[in-house]
Symmetry: D2
Subunit: 259 residues, 4 copies
């Protein structure tokens, strides 16, 4: 595929030296491995390479949603791909899903959710912080996915009128405080997921879910380990991320009264 | 949402006692917690419950793609949701993607891939074992996703005519033997992923990729740990799965000759 | 070394079929791989083997303290070797150490501690449950290590007269309730360790230690994973223990008043 | 206990700011949190504290073998306490054990082994690198444990005259090349342990042991994770060590010929 003006490209030198940029005429990038002429990229193929002024190879990689998330402008803690992928499959989010997100943050999770529900689904996201909303919007536009998202600057503790949501994702410091509102907005057997960095959050959220007509409550954590594969000397990497967050999943059930 | 005849339902009693069934008239399920009358479910809401003949509650949960995979008929080793979710996000598979799968197996991975690429994308899957092809087809039909998949009983070592694939997924015992064929079928900067249960496979595959114009080679393993959340006594579960598979990712680059 | 009557032997067939027995005349062991004649072992070398009546090889292995712990009669939860080894090295227990143990349980930890402090050190262990004390005593005698241990059936919440202990090990459900008593019994810069299966115990204990003149507070968990090494197909085992316990370490400091 | 001239002290400010020093008259330590007057420490109690010239508290902790190892002068890769503790308990090393060590390195492992076998046991250690031997000797003297160790600058591939060893510890890049020599030096049912950072080493060593009359072959890896315990917000640390080494254990059996 040919690279056009306005496209995003992942400039890949090594795993540790890579940049996600928008291709524009007259634009040059200054790096410590030389200057990269972005005009020269227009018309080239993804997968091919150019040289920096210091004769270093830069491969032109078509960015995936993974690259956009990893390189998004952050002002809150990022949610890692290992967690995102599992969230999607465990809650069953897919093209067409209607997803409620409470706690927009920098929009990294929103971006990912929108990329899965499009083109037939939609993400409704809430936050009370106008500064985060701005950053999130910028990131959504950068990933060209904003038309699948509706953003609300609103405190969901005051109640919510959305109903029949397929999935609700809660990324707040006190997820147990919105269980009632989430329950009201979900369809029967709809999926709940909350991001819980601490064990205290896990405990309070799981206990509250159990008391509020949710079943199939499952709390997990995912660990990812890199492997250094070299001929005759393969082994896991010395360093790894020890913890990002716990995840608490559940499904809504309907009580007799509502039935 | 109302349950109709022909729908699938996850009959949920507890995390360890749940069944995925197709709703049919005159059908009864015999379990050690009593008989479940499936006719009685028709017309009920997802999220509501019925009682067994032994007065046990059974919640009627709408199954997600996750449930179909975990409950699919297996004749080869299953690929776990933790790995599936990460594969999707790391390779950038989404609605519209054209995916090559080498090694169909029981179709669990195929089912998942198809659920992500639909409705605009497609999965082309190859296997040399006719028995597996039959099982896979059955599972694809059960998940109502077969129209997004083309199956070939063919040994890809003999070459492949597909080109411009977005992503290639290799699930063979010797993934390094098809790196050349995969290279030919991928678009520029297309993504490669191979399922490698052993460290020896990781090493050989990574070394071969490096020698064959792939970059951004990343080998990882994912671990999932369940947390038992109880008031005042929360802790990880005693038992966990210690290993499923390593994953080897890469991106295709175009050499000068091909450029 | 020659095996004598009264010695313990680990009868090893495979990793999953092994027995720890005392060698006695006229004693025969009935197993599903045949009968083992223990009289016949007397006079044989450790490392050699005998055959069962079903012609299966049984290797005669000299048991280590590890084997005694893994095969000890349990009535409380066992503490795993991975944790025991780290406890010893992190607290600095060695030959000559004076160790206070609160919560004797089945004596598995006591056995291990005594095996390290002997012949010049001593373990003082407390429990309020007479039934546990009996089991612990039996296990200590079996491991031939009871002369290095003094057992007390006593509730340490009532105060303790021991002083200048090198190390204190707490294995109670509420370790934070004895921090004051432990402080009084430890020497300056003496080491504290508590076994905490739940995160709630970790939190309360660490907070209490911080408020009661302990420093170098370190909370850890250890995970052990088995590797299946086979030519050309080496990989971690599918199953592993996901959690045994967290460990909370600290060192006592002396405040100005006491100094 | 009172601190005397010539004693070692762990100067503890925080978990990340601590120093292991020998107490000497007229000695001052310059740090970025102020100057520490070591003369002033003489006669003080372990567990008490002094102030730096910048009014920062420094606790005087009695160093354990753990502290000596973590702070030892390294020129080769260190072996972590999590691994050391497990090695000791799994091989059964204790006071009185006769231990063969192949690959002295910087002596960190030697120091630890000697601290366990003393006063009645002994460590016989071999290395072919005279520079390492010097560093190891320095570390052994610093830990005041050199009288329990005999060092040999010798290539064990040429054969070894030691016999009836209780335990053999191999820390070489190619442990499988000395299995024959180790076998000859071990007593019947004696324990073998090799440090194997890569999976390739694990595989070759385990396969060679199996072919050379060893049983109870067990390959493991240990992971340690730190927990940040804070009131109401306890969680594992973000960073952790992902890999240090695999460990391969085995027991020697005696074949009919030798029996």
């Amino acid at each position: 595929m040919e690279i056009s003006e306005g496209n995003y490209v992942l400039l890949f030198h090594t795993s540790r030296k890579k940049w996600l940029v928008k291709v524009e005429k007259e634009k040059k990038m200054h790096t410590h491995i030389g200057i990269i002429d972005l005009s020269a990229i227009i018309g080239m193929q993804y997968g091919s390479y150019i040289m920096t002024t210091l004769e270093k190879k830069i491969y032109l990689i078509e960015p995936t949603i993974h690259d956009f998330i990893m390189k998004s402008e952050r002002s809150t803690q990022i949610i890692y791909p290992k967690d995102l992928g599992f969230i999607a499959i465990r809650t069953g989010i897919q093209n067409g899903s209607r997803v409620l997100e409470i706690g927009t943050g920098s929009g990294a999770l929103t971006t990912f959710l929108a990329s899965i529900v499009k083109p037939n689904g939609h993400v409704f996201t809430y936050d009370i912080n106008p500064r985060f909303m701005k950053i999130a919007q910028k990131n959504l536009i950068k990933a060209n996915i904003d038309q699948y998202v509706t953003m609300h600057e609103y405190d969901i503790h005051n109640g919510i009128s959305l109903t029949e949501m397929d999935v609700a994702i809660v990324d707040l410091g006190d997820p147990w405080t919105v269980v009632e509102q989430v329950y009201a907005s979900l369809k029967g057997s709809g999926a709940f997921l909350s991001i819980c960095p601490t064990m205290n959050q896990v405990e309070k959220t799981a206990v509250t879910l159990k008391e509020n007509n949710f079943v199939d409550i499952e709390c997990v954590e995912l660990l990812i380990r890199n492997i250094e594969a070299r001929e005759g000397m393969s082994r896991p990497s010395m360093r790894m991320i020890g913890h990002t967050t716990y995840l608490v999943f559940a499904r809504k059930i309907i009580t007799l009264k509502d039935n």
